[in-house]
């Protein structure tokens, strides 16, 4: 009877392990592994164009003392922050509308419409925006039509914002909407019964309750804008070097992977810190 029982324990355990292990194992090999290597890579050396494992701080010192790095760093952060704020503000009326001003059916259709572009090619969409923003582009022509002389909007911060909004809008609106949709409607009804007007309800009840969704949405927008190289490259025309462009250039031009690794680690560290702070803010209870 005893071996029978042990066999049974093993088959129970086997069942559990079969389901629990695949993804973590894969991620350990193909995600954690690479990231750990990246960290180690940042201490390597390039001698005679050959990548050599090492443990030296040269790369770190060089990058962290370089002006071009810090310029790019702050530029990237500033743009990402601006993008996060812009997208969040633009998304707010939409998620409010979705949550409160549309019936169930309209809500679903609208959300679906917002989500579809997110899964289409970002590259091609950015390229299309070039057509709008360039000299003799669509917007320029429209402005002329109205008698306004508009210079090229391409390669301006505005163009970058356009690109980032294109990238992140669907994600932000979904995040905000999820939060808003889960607000207890009876609270809002109660507020009405107490005589509060819509504006007051918005600021006093809806926005605070939707804070997690709004903050997390802004966080996502920040993260994606921070790491994107397509918009700064194709809508920025090379005028705005971001950290991601630095990495791509460093890899393209030579074997200076260790230096690129340093930049990459700095990016990860920044994003992790911002994420932790945002999550704390989002879920802090007063």
């Amino acid at each position: 009877m005893k071996s029978f029982v042990t066999r049974r324990l093993y088959s129970h355990a086997f069942y559990g392990v079969t389901w629990t292990s695949p993804l973590p194992i894969w991620l350990a090999f193909f995600f954690i592994g690479p990231v750990v290597l990246l960290l180690w890579l940042s201490f390597w050396d390039v001698r005679n164009f050959v990548l050599t494992p090492d443990f030296q701080l040269d790369n770190w010192i060089r990058i962290l003392s370089a002006d071009y790095f810090w310029t790019a760093y702050f530029r990237t952060s500033a743009f990402a922050a601006a993008a996060a704020v812009t997208v969040s503000l633009l998304a707010l009326p939409c998620s409010l509308a979705i949550s409160f001003f549309f019936a169930m059916r309209g809500r679903l259709i609208l959300l679906s419409l917002f989500i579809v572009p997110f899964f289409t090619s970002y590259l091609v969409r950015v390229y299309s925006w070039q057509i709008y923003l360039t000299e003799n582009g669509i917007i320029s022509r429209l402005a002329e039509f109205f008698g306004v002389n508009a210079a090229s909007l391409l390669n301006t911060p505005f163009a970058l914002l356009v690109g980032f909004v294109t990238l992140t809008f669907p994600l932000v609106i979904v995040t905000q909407s999820i939060s808003m949709l889960s607000i207890d409607r009876t609270l809002i009804d109660a507020a009405y019964n107490l005589g509060c007007g819509p504006a007051r309800i918005l600021t006093a009840a809806v926005l605070p309750a939707a804070k997690p969704g709004i903050v997390i949405g802004a966080l996502f927008a920040f993260i994606f804008s921070f790491g994107d190289f397509v918009t700064p490259t194709y809508l920025g025309g090379g005028k705005f070097t971001t950290l991601s462009i630095l990495i791509a250039d460093t890899v393209k031009s030579g074997q200076q992977w260790p230096r690129a690794a340093v930049i990459a680690i700095m990016m990860i560290a920044t994003l992790l810190s911002v994420a932790l702070v945002s999550i704390a803010i989002a879920y802090r209870r007063k």
């Binding site: 009877m1 029978f4 049974r8 129970h12």
Partner: protein, 384 residues
């Protein structure tokens, strides 16, 4: 597919019986020293319980008392931290859920939404390997028995609450088990439907002659259906007995309070004469018939329990031998009965249940004073 002989519990039981003479005397299920803990929280504490064949057992208690956990341990969904469960003499606590043959009617019913009513009922038979024709026939027979044959091809979400109850029952009973577990199956039904289902369940159990183990927090359900009631509190059994016995003679203060409708007066036994015991309390001294008491010695701290319907309320004194002067705090009308809430001068609450017409005969005001009295043979002593 070959089934190993060890795996077939019924085969094992048959073998076991071949060596036994007095299987009839043995309880169907015997739980010994059951202990279940989650980390440091103890859900069930060294519990012993025997369940006889063919009986309707109700396990009752407040939320968190461990009754559902006990049922789940029996069905195999929880692992025991200690103790063993025997079924007709064979240990089953190492068996996985699917080999225990302890079908359970779930509180949420857990009907399969992706199967029709008929397919739901056939499920257990299909798992046992019963052929398609026979499965269908047996399932339909059960559906007919529970008046569901017209719904056999419908989806379960198209049925009413009561109908889904019956599907859940049919699903369990179609495999002809010797024991059926029920975990608060009527809690989601409205009162009217619940009462009707109670009658049906009791009738079914009588007809089938199998053991029903029914977990509930409702007194009325347990008392109306069960042959034997087990009252649990904080992982332990407080009392086991037939409904009338528990009602008439609660064994612990908890049971008395849990069932409601009883008054508890803390006393000390002062004297013991032939035929009666004199108790002393802050509300006075009372006589108690020694026939209804067990081993109580002088000086023992005891609880005197008198049911609300055993107390008489009068304006004048002298109605019965045991008497307290109380103030009327409130009254509640419950149909033909009235619950009168009184309080003694030392603050002990007394609740009295009267007929509506008797209330009218008395002229009682809230805040007024009355005499509450009872006879020595009513009332019942338990050790504190």
């Amino acid at each position: 597919m070959l089934v190993e002989p060890e795996k077939n519990i019924n085969h094992q039981i048959a073998l076991h019986h071949a060596h036994q003479d007095e299987t009839k005397m043995q309880p169907l299920i015997s739980m010994k020293g059951i202990h279940k803990s989650y980390g440091r929280a103890v859900a069930i504490e060294r519990l012993d319980l025997d369940i006889d064949e063919g009986k309707f057992i109700a396990i009752m208690g407040p939320s968190g008392c461990g009754k559902s956990t006990l049922l789940r341990c029996l069905a195999g969904m929880e692992e025991l931290s200690g103790g063993k469960i025997l079924r007709q003499g064979i240990e089953i606590n190492d068996l996985p859920i699917w080999e225990r043959d302890t079908p359970l009617v779930w509180q949420s019913l857990a009907l399969f939404p992706f199967l029709t009513v008929l397919e739901n009922v056939e499920f257990g038979l299909r798992m046992k390997g019963v052929g398609r024709g026979e499965r269908r026939e047996r399932a339909l027979r059960w559906l007919k028995r529970l008046q569901l044959e017209d719904h056999s091809d419908r989806g379960v979400d198209q049925l009413s609450g009561g109908q889904r109850q019956r599907v859940a029952l049919a699903r369990c009973l179609v495999t002809e088990p010797s024991v059926l577990l029920l975990d608060e199956p009527l809690s989601a039904l409205d009162a009217h439907l619940s009462v009707r289902m109670q009658g049906e369940l009791k009738r079914l159990q009588r007809e089938l002659g199998i053991t029903f183990i029914y977990v509930t927090h409702s007194h009325s359900e347990a008392f109306s259906m069960a042959d034997q009631v087990v009252i649990m509190n904080e992982g332990r059994i407080e009392q086991i007995g037939a409904p009338e016995e528990i009602y008439l003679r609660p064994a612990t203060p908890f049971v008395a309070r849990f069932l409601g409708g009883s008054n508890i007066i803390e006393c000390k036994a002062r004297e013991r004469n032939s035929g009666e015991i004199i108790l002393e309390s802050t509300d006075g001294s009372f006589k108690c018939d020694s026939k209804v008491t067990s081993n109580v010695s002088c000086g023992d701290k005891v609880n005197l329990i008198i049911r609300a319907d055993q107390i008489s309320v009068t304006a004048e004194a002298g109605w019965a031998e045991n008497e307290i002067y109380c103030q009327v705090i409130g009254e509640e009308f419950v149909g033909a009965l009235v619950n009168l809430r009184l309080e003694t001068s030392s603050g002990t609450p007394i609740i009295v249940q009267l007929q509506q017409r008797d209330m009218e005969a008395l002229d009682i005001e809230i805040g007024g004073g009355v005499n509450a009295s009872w006879h020595p043979e009513d009332g019942h002593i338990i050790n504190a």
